[in-house]
């Protein structure tokens, strides 16, 4: 009789096999269970909520019903960027119609610092005001309108001080939120001294507002003990649980955080969804009433941090063929007033300052500048895009200097045999994939034919200039904070055979829940309809990592798979001994809703429902938890060397633009993309990530311009003044493909690859193409400076500058 003891032996073997897979010596993970149905992992299933989305039934936070006495919260935000709050008179606010409670710094019973990783984020201003939009107090009233009107009655006394708004100046004054970090490899100084060609440049890379369509929102309901239940639009429920508990001064188990879905996150709800939950929780506990808090768009944009603006510089030693010998790159992240996640974000900018190119002997330095703006935070790519921009700018500059096409220069500098170790010491796996991918795209997009046509066009067209660029992406996958690379899942099988899976990841539109359901369906040989995810809850799967770093499916999918496969093996063990005459344990499988044992004549089939019922009656547990921790990765901060990434995801894009060099107006005429997702978990969802990421990246570098006035007030604080791409910005020709036949070389989930962030950086090709068009004004002798975002204003001024130089 096979017993559970025996099962432990099996799982031990499974662990050993997993280790073999990781080393690449075992069978490919994707071969362990093949996808059978059209709707299991690997197929293009619809988003699990698609029908609810299109009928308006999908509920977001503000759609949830609360009791009639629920309170609505509005916030008092600082009107100045820097100063001392010398007096805060809230009497008139308290007496305003409908107001029930008003709280400020002194009303917090527990922790007042809600910094997510490092301290530095007070829940309310005590004395020191650090940015315009920082929260001073919160008002709860019987309606949102009443609360918002009451806020205006506060009497503030602020001793205003000059605001520090320039990150470069902050670095000169050594005003940092975290210490500077350096990565060095080889003798970069000699490389620069002996450079056949020394090329240098600098670039301002603008920030970006997340502009999730659903703004920050939460509802907090007090429980019968000292705790709360928090419904929140949030990428990191466990952190919100921790912070809410700490602010209230209660144990973590008194706080339950639930996230069904977000109306977009993009990193903006990783750390910055927590403050609102903490504030609403305080009011809910003080009043005993359910409390609703959602930020109106302009307050959301002023109060929350954005993608970090960066000031980058490079000095590169280049040989006469344009191949980099070594160099020195400095990136300065404008972190805003507090650390938030800036340490890891500037690190990731440094990790991606090479993009797909071997830097040779190089030093990369990353500063974390403190300024008086909202604390800048995670945003798709997490600093990676900003780091990549400097080396892509350098590629164009090198090409003009040595008189070659930028694509030729890019290819010459790719990681290649003998040059396959990054400046932080990680060997780049799959370099052949990178070369194949780019060559395939180069040919499918007819790069060289179009290059010739564009050159001819530009010679005959004095005002309208066309530009073309191919830029690659190599993006490292894993949290660079090692401990975050873990995930859990909880799987329940009910006696009708239906399945509930919960995991630590959150759904923000990226299709994570769809993929996880597909994984479970595939592991258990069931139809997708049998598997459901309710919501992400901290009381189902605890101590979770944020859904971030593109890791959602990689980590949680593995955990779900772990739970499903453990349950499957237990059912196999049970079936082998329970059913009449016994079933052949070897080769037992779950397919098409059946347990199948044996082959041919001796094949036995037991329907899933019967199997589950029988197991239940025989007191076999139908619930299982799963866990996963990414192997192999580490990073030594002291030496700046390590293997921070489990693997890299690759991609490349070719963009063609037409620029009116008189007005600065431009259009993207055609885009071709080839992107590597390993063996896709869901090609439709992955395609959606690639296309959506590209357009978002393009928006970042073109029309999305954050502007502050000289007092540090954000003046682009709504969609009227902050312009994300709209329908007409979709390129008329948009050829997007997923690279096929290249499974992940590491034993990831069915050999798939993460897809959330990498495609964002494909948008760099648009910026490079704009620069290519402007370069034609110089006869391709130089690459005009083009800070980002390359709005029509910046493009026109760049073109004007070239023309004036020529006069």
């Amino acid at each position: 009789m096979r017993t559970l003891t025996k099962l432990d032996g099996d799982s031990h073997r499974a662990r050993r096999e997993l280790a073999d897979h990781i080393q690449g010596s075992g069978p490919l993970a994707r071969h362990t269970v093949d996808s059978q149905s059209q709707r299991q992992a690997g197929s293009a299933s619809f988003h699990e909520s698609a029908q609810k989305h299109v009928t308006g039934k999908a509920a977001y936070i503000d759609d949830l019903k609360t009791p009639a006495d629920a309170l609505h919260v509005a916030l008092g935000l600082s009107p100045v960027a820097h100063g001392r709050l010398t007096s805060l008179d809230l009497d008139a606010v308290r007496q305003a119609p409908g107001v029930v409670d008003v709280i400020a710094f002194g009303d917090v019973p527990g922790h007042t610092d809600i910094g997510p990783v490092f301290p530095g984020d007070p829940i309310f201003v005590d004395r020191e005001i650090s940015y315009a939009g920082q929260c001073l107090f919160a008002v709860a009233a019987t309606s949102l309108q009443a609360a918002r009107r009451a806020v205006k009655l506060a009497k503030l006394d602020i001793d205003e001080q000059p605001a520090s708004l320039d990150a470069v100046t902050a670095v000169e004054r050594e005003e940092f939120v975290r210490p500077t970090h350096v990565q060095e490899r080889g003798d970069w100084q000699s490389a620069l001294e002996q450079a056949p060609q020394l090329i240098e440049g600098d670039l301002f890379v603008g920030g970006q507002e997340h502009f999730y369509l659903e703004g920050q929102a939460c509802i907090v309901v007090p429980t019968e003990d000292e705790g709360v239940v928090v419904h929140t639009s949030n990428q990191h429920p466990s952190e919100t649980q921790k912070l809410v508990a700490e602010v209230l001064g209660i144990p973590f188990h008194a706080v339950t955080v639930e996230v069904r879905r977000m109306g977009g996150g993009f990193g903006g709800k990783e750390t910055q969804a927590s403050p609102w939950a903490c504030m609403a929780a305080l009011i809910a506990r003080r009043t005993g009433q359910a409390t609703r808090l959602r930020l109106p768009r302009s307050e959301d944009m002023r109060a929350t941090g954005k993608r970090h603006p960066f000031h980058n510089r490079y000095r590169l030693a280049v040989d006469n063929e344009g191949v980099i010998q070594g160099g020195d790159i400095t990136v300065i992240g404008d972190c805003g007033y507090s650390p938030d996640l800036s340490d890891a974000i500037v690190d990731r900018a440094m990790f991606h300052a090479d993009n797909a190119y071997s830097l040779g002997n190089a030093r990369v330095t990353g500063h974390r500048a403190r300024t008086h703006t909202a604390s800048n935070t995670a945003f798709r790519g997490f600093g990676g895009p900003q780091g990549m921009m400097i080396i892509e700018a350098a590629m164009d500059d090198i090409a003009r200097r040595v008189g070659e096409d930028p694509l030729t220069i890019r290819k010459r500098n790719f990681y290649r045999e003998g040059h396959d170790v990054t400046h932080y010491g990680q060997q780049v796996d799959q370099i052949k994939l990178l070369h194949t991918l780019v060559e395939t795209l180069e040919s499918s997009s007819e790069y060289w034919t179009r290059r010739r046509a564009i050159t001819a066009f530009n010679e005959a067209s004095p005002i309208i200039k066309k530009g073309l660029a191919l830029t690659p992406v190599k993006f490292g996958i894993s949290f660079t904070a090692q401990h975050l690379n873990q995930a859990g899942a909880l799987l329940h099988v009910y006696t009708d055979g239906s399945i509930m899976i919960n995991h630590g990841g959150t759904e923000m539109g990226q299709g994570l829940h769809t993929k996880i359901c597909q994984v479970v369906a595939r592991e258990l040989g069931l139809d997708l309809d049998s598997v459901r995810i309710s919501a992400t809850r901290t009381d189902k799967v605890p101590n979770t990592s944020p859904t971030a770093a593109s890791s959602g499916a990689d980590l949680n999918g593995m955990a779900a798979r772990d739970a499903a496969s453990k349950l499957r093996e237990r059912l196999f063990d049970f079936a082998a001994v329970h059913f009449e005459d016994g079933l052949d344990r070897e080769g037992m499988r779950l397919e098409d809703g059946m347990l199948i044992a044996g082959h041919g004549e001796s094949e036995r089939r037991i329907p899933w429902g019967e199997l589950v019922q029988t197991a239940y009656l025989n007191r076999i547990s139908l619930s299982e938890k799963g866990f996963y921790a990414t192997p192999l990765i580490y990073y030594n901060r002291a030496s700046g060397q390590g293997r921070p990434f489990y693997y890299y995801a690759f991609g490349a894009a070719v963009s063609e633009v037409s620029v009116d060099t008189l007005s600065g107006e431009y259009q993207v005429d055609r885009v071709d993309i080839l992107h590597d997702v390993g063996d896709s978990l869901n090609p439709a969802i992955d395609m959606g990530q690639v296309e959506g990421g590209f357009i978002q990246g393009m928006g970042w570098l073109t029309s999305e311009e954050l502007k502050w006035n000289d007092k540090g007030m954000l003046i682009s604080d709504g969609p009227a003044t902050y312009k994300i791409p709209t329908f007409g910005d979709l390129p008329p020709v948009f050829n997007v493909s997923l690279l096929e036949g290249h499974p992940n070389s590491m034993a990831s989930l069915y050999r798939s690859k993460a897809v959330g962030e990498p495609p964002f950086m494909l948008g760099i090709s648009v910026w490079s193409a704009l620069r290519d068009a402007l370069s034609s004004l110089t006869g391709y002798q130089s690459s005009p400076h083009l800070d980002t975002p390359a709005t029509p204003e910046h493009v026109m001024l760049a073109a004007n500058a070239v023309r004036q130089k020529a006069l």
Binding site: T55, L213, G692, I695, E705, P719, K723, L730
Partner: protein, 484 residues
């Protein structure tokens, strides 16, 4: 509070709401219908898009509007369709079905609004089949922001939708309740009011009777005062149902042929006239706001609002348009060029309303060029807008009229620039002199839409563009998605 009667997804509804209630608030807070989302509360993102139909008449189609900035009281006697109303039981509307099949929703928050924009396209196609062009699609969807998909699958859904079979539900052509003009007299001068006069005489009477009331037409700008600045709009006089304000008449005025356009005529209603007679102006109209805004915003509102960055005033100025303003005593006429006095100040007296605008036809051989510069091509506000009207006779510039938006506190004629070109030969040196005059004539400001330096340079460059279009007519000197 006052009662409004309307059709909601085919069902008659009666609601009591205050004058400054938006359709979005009515739906979400009063009726508990949360399918329609708030993304920005400023009419810029389209997440709250709903469809409205005036009547069941054959030519009246469903129009998309932003529920967040549309007064609920304007629903009186109309049919409101929301995302909750589209599916018939399990049977999804083709817009919904196509969105699913094309994987066109990710986070799903913008999706109801996109479905509603597609619904209006579909219902128009059902009434009068037409082939979809990229321009048409852009017009329909340009006002719906999606942050996730990048729009490609939404484009596919729009194309696929037409291929899905669809049986119009019984309520589709239901007639909204006939709503008599609101004759309710409020209890006092400052009592809440949403007056809906139906004649100009009633309108001017109301205007005099309630001097503190605000006039509302499309509400596309006014409503931001309540959603963004939290002002109470307690007394409102709705001009959108005043018969005289909704007409377009061909006429001759001061010996010039042209059109009297009622102040309440929407951008959408202007499109056919402009497309036929002022194609370059029509192109500007297509880039003004979004479909949701063009369905609501009016010519009179754009003028009365007196924003320095309103799109139509500079163009109307170079066309030598006139405005007719009315009060309870009668009407007076004044050239639009004298209408704008200072930032957001006009020649309109406190008891007056704009009743109509005379747009003269272009004289023979006269050209009109309208060039708008903005960060984004669609649904954006001008950084600089240049309007140029002129004719060239034997190589000499004649009747040159130039006006700019975004270059001063008001929309403004560039009189010295005009003078430096008037009667001059078409030459580079003349245009350089004009650029010089332009520099001296305007001192624009720096703001979120552009720096002073950029605005100056851009305006100069538009003059250069004008020179190039005239001197090298065969050379492409602009991108036609932006300019003609």
């Amino acid at each position: 509070m006052a009662t409004i009667e309307f059709l909601l997804n085919g069902t008659p509804k009666q609601c009591d709401v205050s004058p400054d209630t938006s359709i979005l608030t009515l739906l979400r807070d009063h009726l508990g219908m949360t399918g329609t989302k708030e993304g920005c509360a400023s009419g810029d993102c389209g997440a709250c898009t709903v469809a409205i139909r005036d009547s069941a008449e054959a030519m009246s189609g469903f129009e998309s509007v932003n529920a967040c900035i549309t007064p609920a009281h304007q629903l009186k006697g109309r049919h409101l369709v929301t995302v909750e109303g589209l599916a018939q039981g399990e049977q999804l509307h083709p817009a919904q079905q196509a969105m699913i099949e094309c994987h066109a929703s990710q986070c799903g928050f913008c999706t109801p609004g996109i479905v509603m924009s597609l619904f209006t396209l579909h219902s128009t196609q059902q009434q009068q089949p037409f082939s979809l062009t990229p321009e048409r699609l852009e017009a329909v969807l340009g006002g719906n922001l999606c942050r996730c998909t990048g729009y490609r699958p939404i484009r596919d859904a729009a194309l696929r939708m037409a291929q899905q079979p669809w049986q119009a539900p019984a309520w589709f052509d239901a007639a909204p309740p006939v709503s008599a003009a609101d004759k309710t007299v409020p209890s006092g001068d400052s009592a809440p009011l949403f007056a809906q006069p139906s004649t100009l005489a009633e309108l001017t009477k109301a205007r005099r009777r309630y001097p503190d009331a605000r006039l509302v037409a499309g509400a596309t700008d006014l409503w931001l005062e309540t959603t963004q600045r939290l002002k109470a709009l307690e007394q409102l006089i709705d001009v959108s149902r005043v018969n005289e304000l909704c007409q377009i008449e061909e006429a001759t005025f001061q010996h010039q042929p042209g059109w009297w356009v009622g102040a309440g005529v929407t951008y959408r209603q202007l499109e056919p006239l402009f497309e036929q007679h002022f194609p370059t102006f029509a192109h500007l109209l297509h880039r003004l706001g979004s479909q949701q805004i063009r369905n609501r915003g009016t010519l009179g509102g754009n003028i009365a609002n007196a924003s320095p960055i309103g799109d139509t005033p500079p163009v109307l100025m170079v066309l030598n348009a006139w405005v007719e303003v009315a009060n309870d005593d009668g009407v007076r006429l004044l050239p639009l060029n004298t209408f704008f006095i200072d930032y957001k100040q006009t020649a309109l007296a406190s008891d007056e309303v704009i009743s109509k605008v005379f747009i003269p036809a272009l004289a023979a051989n006269t050209s009109l060029r309208v060039w708008k510069l903005s960060k984004r091509r669609e649904d954006d506000i001008s950084a600089v807008l240049g309007a140029f009207c002129y004719r060239v006779e034997d190589g000499i510039m004649r009747d040159v009229r130039i006006a700019f938006g975004g270059m001063a506190a008001t929309p403004k004629r560039a009189l010295n620039t005009e003078a430096s070109l008037e009667g001059q030969p078409l030459s580079k040196s003349c245009f350089q002199a004009a650029q010089q005059a332009l520099d001296e004539e305007f001192e624009p400001m720096s703001d979120v839409r552009g720096s002073q330096h950029y605005r100056q340079q851009a305006a100069r460059n538009l003059l250069e563009r004008l020179y190039l279009t005239l001197s090298a007519p065969n050379q492409e000197v602009m991108l036609h998605a932006y300019a003609h």
